[in-house]
Amino acid sequence: MRRKQEFTLALFYCRNIPGSTEKERQSLEKEYGGALRLFPLPCSGRMEPLHLMKSLEEFADAAYLITCPEGGCRYSEGNTRASKRVARAGLILADIGLEKERIGIIANTLGNPRPLAALAKEIMEKAARLGPSPVFHPGVRGKKARVRKSRDAGPIRQALNAPLDGLR
């Protein structure tokens, strides 16, 4: 069960961005004390809107995706596809009355790509302004969030490595 006034960010990212080795991921998660849950992807094109939705459902106050810069996708168009999917997920959130900014996408810079840690910090600061999710705190919309501790993100990790059935 979640504690009140905590904020957790689910951050999916393409493994091709700098500073995103498994060791760096673990160290970053440790640094944020569980408020940041990182999900590496072979390419941002692997992202399905359902992954973001399930994150918001299970444990996260916001769910973001970091992609390679436009024109920089190793698989040609994974990042552009991801961008469309994230936009669609945002529309679904708006449809149910949840701020669509709780889902977002950030493209890395083309010339001098920033490392995962810098991007994560920037996204965390931006997303935390939304406050805790009304999904876990009905009626607590818009209050300032405290960035700390989080809940079980296990199902999302499993789902990324499994067919869609794994999300059930």
Binding site: E48, L50, M53, L56, E57, I96, L98
Partner: protein, 222 residues
């Protein structure tokens, strides 16, 4: 295939509001191909409905399941074991699937989550177009394989209206003139003389003149 689009979220939420235990049932055939009601879409709709329920402080139980086809009872039977655990089935199939499931489980309300649209083809990624009305008396051979009933905005059977420009229908700039395509194809295959024949008014009795249609094949029956 049969195409469909998801109903507005507000309408869906309203339709399931009286129920406490909801089964979102996807269909992995036609409506999955047009990204409206397959496994992924069922997952997303169920997830969105759960989020909405929690935000509203409701304890509605919402699960999702997908079948290969909802319009074939041999597939629908897969939910037999657990369907009684739910108050309502929110079907993401076409109208045929919704009704087949309703026939199987007359004690449980079955509500459509999709608006069934048309018989069509996947012309490109993310683009589905209507190209068959299912009239029951196919005339494609006569028109070079292009159906003027489904693809001509005015459903003309005896030549173009004269309103097209550069092969584009005057109704909308994204609609090719079906008659331009008919002529192009017949010309290519040396069949323009077919257009000399006057086509009589379409006999619609084979589509909807005698109530619901059915096909009986004795060799396929039990």
């Amino acid at each position: 295939m049969i195409t469909a689009e998801q109903k507005p979220m507000e309408e869906i939420r309203e339709s399931i509001a009286p129920f406490k235990r909801v089964l979102v049932l996807g269909c992995n055939s036609c409506v999955a191909e047009c990204a409206a009601g397959g496994e992924k879409e069922a997952g997303m709709l169920a997830s969105a409905l759960r989020l909405a329920a929690r935000m509203g402080g409701k304890d509605t139980l919402i699960h999702e399941k997908s079948l290969d086809r909802q319009c074939v009872k041999e597939f629908v039977i897969q939910v037999d074991e657990f369907v009684n655990e739910y108050d309502v089935i929110l079907s993401m199939a076409c109208g045929a699937g919704v009704q087949a499931v309703g026939d199987m489980y007359p004690e449980i309300p079955v509500i459509p989550a999709l608006n069934t649209e048309f018989l069509g083809e996947t012309r490109d990624q993310g683009l589905w177009v209507e190209n068959c009305l299912g009239c029951g008396d196919c005339m494609l051979a006569q028109f070079g394989g292009v159906c003027p009933l489904a693809r001509c905005s005015k459903q003309l059977l005896n030549g173009p209206c004269g309103g097209s420009r550069n092969g584009i229908c005057e109704i909308r700039p994204d609609v090719p003139c079906a008659w331009q395509e008919i002529i192009n194809r017949l010309e290519k295959f040396g069949g323009l003389d077919r257009l000399e024949r006057i086509v009589p008014p379409k006999n619609w009795s084979r589509k909807n003149g005698g109530g619901p249609r059915s096909i009986v094949r004795e060799d396929q029956k039990r």
